[in-house]
């Protein structure tokens, strides 16, 4: 038989000497190590056939060492003998560790006999410990030891359950202890983490910083901790981890305790919150603008009709050729003005999308081929599913891609390419991945990339602002509205859009549209204040019902109509039972030949004391109209009422 290589690991010189003596006498070649860490280095030089280890040792203890051996494929067959000084107090260690033999530390003569016996078991290949501990005779349990062991067990449980990672490094920066959370952060098996240099497990920059710090520690008097704070965490794979490395003096040397915390999720949530706030700000800004745009376009549309009408009339009447020419020029400018105002109305409240089912791939392909063919810029369109169709306003969506294409063409200056990819994604996953405000549910994602020079990061947040333009102003009318319109159209469809600069260069616009038309409830994606609210309108006049319906629908409400008090009461009851209670009920007080609004209100309040009802009447001097709150109504409106009155209702009650 070949010479047996034995490794003896114990921090007691006496025990090491006894073991060496006995084993060498038995013909073994013996190596020794003072602790688990040193043992790992010896093992790396030469794999032992049999290993004798103490349990309680500094740095890596016997239990961890055994764990590493049993969990490293090339070492797991090493014959493992545990020499325990706490065998009586901790008597299930052999089984826990998977030792082949366990010997209690005791009188030298007894130990010698058991060492030889263990060697015999190795030679005859009797593996798998019996759970029996050799050499217990004449030993008595010590209370202090038991207490220390219990306290260690408590500490181990705490460390194991902690969400923070805890590591202990020796003076060389090697990991001698790592709790489960820390091992998880390093994303490597524990057996590989233990004994490794911490700096080897980290990205280069952080590693170098730690190495420099440790170099300084060696000559230092007072120890200064090294902190990688929340603001500058270490990037480990995809995770952002804060590190707090605290040196602890120990006799001649020192060791280091490191506390690790995975802050990726918190960072992601914060980033998402910031994005949401930014988006909300943008929406508010655009809302104010769209209000103004509505007003402007209304006034301008009137004025422009009169101006252009008179110009046309003048051209018709005038027989003078030069006057006709001048009027022709004026008409051209008027035409441009009209187009500009139209652009405005696109993102004003005035514009209600006219939706239909559209195959996105076809639509985008049409825009790209039409707009890019005269420019010499190539494009590639990748569709995950050619048949993918969504319900959108095709004209608006066409405008989105026309605007993006126009920007890309101008940015690239005639050279380069555009790449568009369309696929299906899950909204929540995208939100988690990107940290952006993406609506939930199934979405269509469109990435529109160009190979232009990109956008400076400093202005990235402003590009959606109206009249923000990097191009020279004045050269072209209507500049600076392109991306504002894109943003507004995407929001009108309950989607999301933003721009990123990919590391490879160029500029990528990412757009999302809901696959299914959904009722949007997240305030960040609401474009209209009354979105999703349920309104009941009871009026016996068909025209009034129709106008009311249109007005409430303008604010995103869903409207149910009733022609009489009886029908209103019944509809209210049905909706209440079905859990789709009306948010507001408008009741006409005077109904020809049926139950009026007042009676209906009494019947409704009997079913639902919280019902929000508005009295409507052509007679504003009516007693119920004047004292509406005495009759279960929350407001009274005199007919005919304007869109402003409806808006006020929406603002107050929805």
């Amino acid at each position: 038989m070949n010479e047996i290589h034995a490794l003896v690991v114990d921090n007691s010189p006496v025990i090491r000497r006894i073991l060496s003596y006995v084993l060498e006498a038995e013909g073994c070649s013996v190596q020794i190590a003072e602790d688990g860490l040193e043992a790992l280095d010896r093992i790396a030089q030469q794999r032992p056939d049999i290993l004798f280890t103490d349990l309680i040792m500094p740095k890596i203890d016997g239990e961890k060492l055994s764990y590493i051996i049993r969990n490293t494929p090339e070492l797991k067959d090493v014959f493992l003998v545990v020499l325990s000084g706490v065998a009586l107090e901790d008597n299930d260690a052999t089984v826990r560790i998977g030792a082949d033999v366990c010997i209690a530390k005791g009188p030298a003569a007894t130990m010698k006999a058991h060492i030889v016996a263990a060697l015999d078991r190795f030679r005859t290949n009797q593996r798998g410990g019996t759970g029996m501990i050799q050499g217990l005779e004449g030993l008595y349990p010590r209370e202090v030891t038991s207490e220390l062991l219990i306290s260690k067990k408590h500490r181990d449980v705490i460390l194991k359950r902690m969400t923070e990672g805890v590591v202990e490094l020796n003076h060389e920066g090697r990991i001698v202890m790592a709790n489960d959370a820390a091992v998880h952060l390093f994303a490597q098996p524990e057996a590989r983490v233990l004994g490794s240099h911490l700096v080897h497990l980290l990205p280069q920059a952080a590693g170098e910083q730690i190495a420099t710090w440790m170099e300084q520690l060696k000559g230092a008097v007072g120890f200064v901790p090294l902190v990688f704070s929340y603001d500058e965490p270490i990037l480990m794979e995809e995770r952002q981890v804060t590190f707090n490395l605290v040196p602890v003096a120990e006799e001649e040397a020192f060791f280091i305790i490191g506390i690790l915390q995975d802050v990726s999720r918190r960072k992601m949530l914060e980033q998402r919150q910031r994005q949401l706030e930014k988006e909300l700000q943008r929406i508010r800004k655009l809302e104010a603008m769209s209000l103004m745009a509505s007003g402007i376009s209304h006034d301008f549309n009137n004025l422009l009709t009169i101006i252009s009408g008179n110009v046309e009339m003048a051209r018709y009447v005038s027989r003078d050729e030069s006057v006709g020419q001048m009027l022709g020029e004026a008409a051209k400018a008027l035409n441009l003005t009209v187009q500009l105002i139209r652009q405005f109305t696109t993102f004003s409240d005035n514009y209600l999308p006219q939706k239909s089912r559209v195959r996105l791939c076809t639509l985008i392909d049409e825009v790209l081929s039409q707009d890019l063919s005269p420019t010499g810029i190539s494009y590639r369109l990748t569709c995950g599913d050619d048949e993918l169709a969504i319900t959108v306003d095709p004209n608006l969506i066409r405008q989105v891609f026309a605007n993006l294409t126009k920007n890309a063409v101008e940015a690239m200056g005639g050279i380069g390419g555009v790449e568009v990819a369309i696929d299906r994604v899950d909204g929540s996953e995208e939100a988690a991945r990107t940290g952006q405000a993406v609506p939930g549910g199934e979405l269509i994602r469109i990435t529109f990339s160009d190979s232009g020079p990109g956008i400076a990061p400093a202005i990235l947040d402003q590009v959606f602002d109206p009249y923000f333009s990097t191009k020279l102003k004045g050269a072209q009318k209507g500049m600076g509205l392109g991306l504002t319109i894109v943003h507004s159209i995407v929001k009108k469809h309950g989607g999301a859009v933003w721009i990123t600069m990919p590391p490879a260069g160029g500029c990528t616009v990412t757009l999302y549209f809901p696959l299914q038309e959904v009722v949007v409830t997240d305030p960040h994606f609401l474009t209209r204040k009354g979105q999703g609210a349920r309104i009941l309108v009871m009026d016996d006049e068909e025209m009034m019902r129709l106008i009311n319906k249109k007005m409430f629908e303008h604010f995103g409400c869903s409207v149910t109509l009733a022609t009489s008090g009886e029908e209103a009461v019944e509809l209210y009851r049905q909706h209440l039972v079905a859990g789709r209670r009306f948010d507001l009920a408008l009741l006409d007080l005077r109904v020809c030949g049926g139950m009026g609004g007042l009676e209906a209100a009494r019947a409704i309040v009997a079913q639902d004391p919280e019902a929000a009802m508005v009295a409507i009447s052509g007679d504003s001097g009516n007693e119920v109209m004047l004292q509406y709150s005495d009759h279960h109504f929350v407001a009274a409106l005199a007919k005919p009422f304007s869109i402003d009155a409806v808006e006020e209702l929406v603002n107050r009650f929805l």
């Binding site: 009709t305 009408g309 046309e312 009339m313 409240d349 129709l546 249109k550 402003d644 808006e647």
Partner: protein, 122 residues
């Protein structure tokens, strides 16, 4: 052929009157729906051009009354949109019986064409 023009804007009314007179029609003007109805009852029009958003009586109401009293009457509705936008009002006008709708700003020549077409079919 008589055309009733209902609009609360003087300039708009003047323009429409000029255009229609140039096209050879007799024109009656009214500043709102109520006045329009009143004039129509006295001098029935063959075609009414009405704005939709006006004080007193709104255009949609006027259209309904006109169609009720005089089912054969031709109606053209025009709108600059107001708060809701022509996209919301004009379809409502059509549902209520307007034969043609025009969103402001529009080309007066097209309006004249539409009038000719509607009255020519009589």
């Amino acid at each position: 052929m008589r055309i009733l023009v209902i609009d609360d804007d003087d300039q708009m009314r003047t323009l429409l009157r000029q255009v229609m007179e140039w096209a050879g029609y007799e024109v009656v003007e009214a500043g709102d729906g109520r006045e329009g109805m009143h004039k129509h009852r006295k001098q029935p029009a063959d075609l009414v051009i009405t704005d939709l958003i006006m004080p007193e009586q709104e255009g949609l109401e006027t259209i309904t009354s006109l169609k009720k009293e005089c089912p054969g009457i031709k109606i053209i509705a025009i709108s600059g949109g107001g708060r809701i936008g022509p996209e919301a009002y004009l379809p409502a006008a059509q549902e209520l019986g307007a034969d043609k709708v025009f969103s402001k700003p529009f080309d007066v020549r097209e309006l004249a064409e539409a009038v000719k077409e509607l009255l020519g079919h009589e």
